[in-house]
Assembly symmetry: C3
Homo-oligomer: 158 residues x 3
């Protein structure tokens, strides 16, 4: 059982649970630590072992589906950060979220899609992060959302 | 009054002044510090509370306007870094500038646009930085330029 | 002569040699160090002083050529990291590779292209890295591949 103010408790209260950290899709690892910083490879919206959505927002994928994809990719990232922190999310402080959205040429609402991830991450980890946001015509695996994470690991949690 | 060799003095000599650091456009903060590193959310070419330009370089926006947008986004970034450094730009050493340019499919001169930012930042901060440069068909807020900053904060300035 | 397990020995065994670190293409430097971290500007597939390939993968550039471009950009990056490590690649641990591929709208195999770089870097440096991957319609210098490097420098090599 986790204490009341633990990120895992907040995650469960929101109705989410983490899958095991997904391995990289290629010749690389999912995260790397240097000093007390952890950086991840891009995280995808996995569900049941495959991408929950494929295609571009504003074309094959609706805005609502893209927001859900952002949440799923955020959960995938939390699983990586948990692993990097030796299994304890309370040791993780998210520094920056790098958000990438596959979108149609005329899609305008990239920040709204990524807020799906930021809202979840802020609620679970309890601290605001900074964020970058980009839209793309072509995405690896044809994913509508990919997220990169830069986090600080506190070896002696408060 | 700032000493002669202070970044604020050089900024004023170039005819620029900083606006207050702009808050994030979404559920995130504008910068985050980890150790003595500061990373920012993307900075936009703000003027009088709105984007000075919107659209793609090589289409709705001219190269000259895009260079100006890069300068404005650089000033927005300096305001964030100044805030992160407790108000003293002399404590800031820029490590990397991440430049993003919204451009038409056949636009070739991304480095020239970003040199508008790099020239200003090098003159003001007095040290060269490294830089990444990308072009995009779709940009958040339809901005022609966005800049990300990675900087070192020296708590005991020379 | 380098010892048997040195990155330079593995590089030579693979039939590669490093060119001098290429200067930045614009008003910036090729790498910057902060603490024991080094970050680079984007690296291009240089050969004989010019880009070995230009154009988009899936259009003007074949997948096989793009894999070769990724290898060349990886070698360009190793030259930068070697310089940043005072000339000794054994002091370099690659943390993250940021891969950018210029591609046609319907090109699907971005990870395969970047594996050309990751395979070489893993063989030479002896440790896996994490990686980000993006596709773009427009690339600086019309390069099919650009790579960014984040590495740790160990001042006291093992």
């Amino acid at each position: 059982m986790y204490p009341e103010n633990h990120p895992e408790t907040r995650l469960a209260a929101l109705g989410y649970s983490l899958l095991p950290a997904h391995p990289g899709v290629g010749m690389y690892v999912s995260w790397a630590r240097t000093g007390n910083l952890v950086t991840t490879s891009f995280q995808f919206p996995w569900r049941d072992g495959k991408l929950a959505y494929t295609g571009r927002v504003g074309a094959e994928v609706s805005t609502e589906q893209a927001v859900d994809a952002a949440r799923l990719a955020a959960l995938a990232g939390l699983a990586q950060l948990k692993e990097a922190a030796g299994g304890d999310l309370a040791r993780v402080r998210l520094v920056r979220l790098d958000g990438h959205v596959g979108c149609a040429m005329d899609f305008k609402d990239i920040p709204h899609v990524l807020n799906g991830a930021s809202e979840l991450l802020t609620k679970v980890l309890g601290v605001a992060h900074c964020r970058t946001a980009l839209g793309h015509m072509v995405m690896p695996l044809d994913s509508p959302v990919m997220l990169g994470f830069l986090a600080e690991i506190n070896d002696a949690p408060a």
